[in-house]
Symmetry: C2
Subunit: 239 residues, 2 copies
Amino acid sequence: MDHNNLPLNDIYAPENRIYVATDCIIFGFDKGILKLLVFERRVEPFKGTLSLIGSFVKPNEAANEAARRVLKEITGLENIFMEELKTYSNIDRDPGARCISIAHYALIRIDDYDKELVAKHDAIWCEVDKLPKLVLDHDLMIEDALNRLRRKARFYPIGFELLPKKFTIPQFQNLYEAIFQKTLDTRNFRKKLMSLKLLIPLNEKDKSGSKKGAFLYKFDYKKYKRLEEKGFNFSLFKN
Amino acid sequence: MDHNNLPLNDIYAPENRIYVATDCIIFGFDKGILKLLVFERRVEPFKGTLSLIGSFVKPNEAANEAARRVLKEITGLENIFMEELKTYSNIDRDPGARCISIAHYALIRIDDYDKELVAKHDAIWCEVDKLPKLVLDHDLMIEDALNRLRRKARFYPIGFELLPKKFTIPQFQNLYEAIFQKTLDTRNFRKKLMSLKLLIPLNEKDKSGSKKGAFLYKFDYKKYKRLEEKGFNFSLFKN
DNA sequence: ACAAAAGTGTTCTTGGTACACCCATGC
DNA sequence: GCATGGGTGTACCAAGAACACTTTTGT
């Protein structure tokens, strides 16, 4: 900071402080549908309306620590893919007080989380394209998060974070079709995906999706990390 | 925000407030070299050291407004390409007080700005790969900004923001070579650039770079905006 | 006349895209 | 035996990569 070259005591005036919060856009993928974990307010203000899950950033934590704390409180999960999205800081975004929010988005394996915790916090999974109007600027956050997810999933293998650890190729294709809202050619998708050589084939089939059953795979994180450092371009399609 | 479903009066406790600042990573391009506008502190703390240019976010402005205000105070420029980079919020990042910074990066035409203003604020242009250690976590911010610039310049035509409004193809290629730290094939670069059909040729030459002189062009912002809405992929090379 | 940068085409290779049928199984 | 989703190969086309010489002009 420069603070216009003022000495310390002029800068750090308490009235310059602002409430800092974080809101989490938590994505999940269930039965071919992309979902968001949202939250129904039990108390005023905005009682009964939906909002994202969030919290103030406390004096003893960084913004991303706050986001992870929130995520853990609601889902019980740790070590989740989570990234800072963007800061929302319009002066009138929160009618209660001047408050900025540093939004984060997370991708979780929808069958991994603690259902009791989720229920206890009045959190519900809502399909992304059937969301009602949310509180404050949370709609905007979600829109931004979706765009970010699309851009990111296109160039980085973060899609795997939304699938079970063992997954099938058709599941993976469904996920991408849900994220990008378009159908993809099975043969080309497979061919490209396999050419990356980042899937470890397992000798098991998942029969939940069809009678024939589809082979299960694991994503090779270690190999990807190695390739990534050398500037590897994970990208499953062009347009 | 959820604030754990607490009523209002428990949430908005003044001690939850934090100092919020913004720091600006201001890129310029001059004579084939990528530069940063940094700032030499005249007063304690950190007197004599270099830092980015920043300020607190004031009660009546959003974070991006604060960043634009700072940019204008130092360079006199408005309507500049500027984007939020990332929030820096480690609890001990600023020894003076708990203070988070919402960093922004900007691209300016280095011959456009107000040199008197810059001088008055003890700001100096410093080559990006000859930067000394800066104050606090500003080195980290710069590293992040450089990575962001590279990713962004690869897929969006933001490079033009660093060049004069009238520029030559060789200038443009030099810029990309400076950003990506590698040499590019002249013929392929030109071919690709021209195939995008986003440059308006002018019937003038710039002779500052050679005896022969190189033709000047303007970037067609309007056309780009139209194409962008339809999902246009500006990208000058692959690897 | 020579130095220094601008400008220009072709070939090869890679990778994307389009497209249709057989397979395995549970019911 | 049939319905359902899983799995496979080929031909065409577009775009990237490699590569060397001529042009212009100031000195």
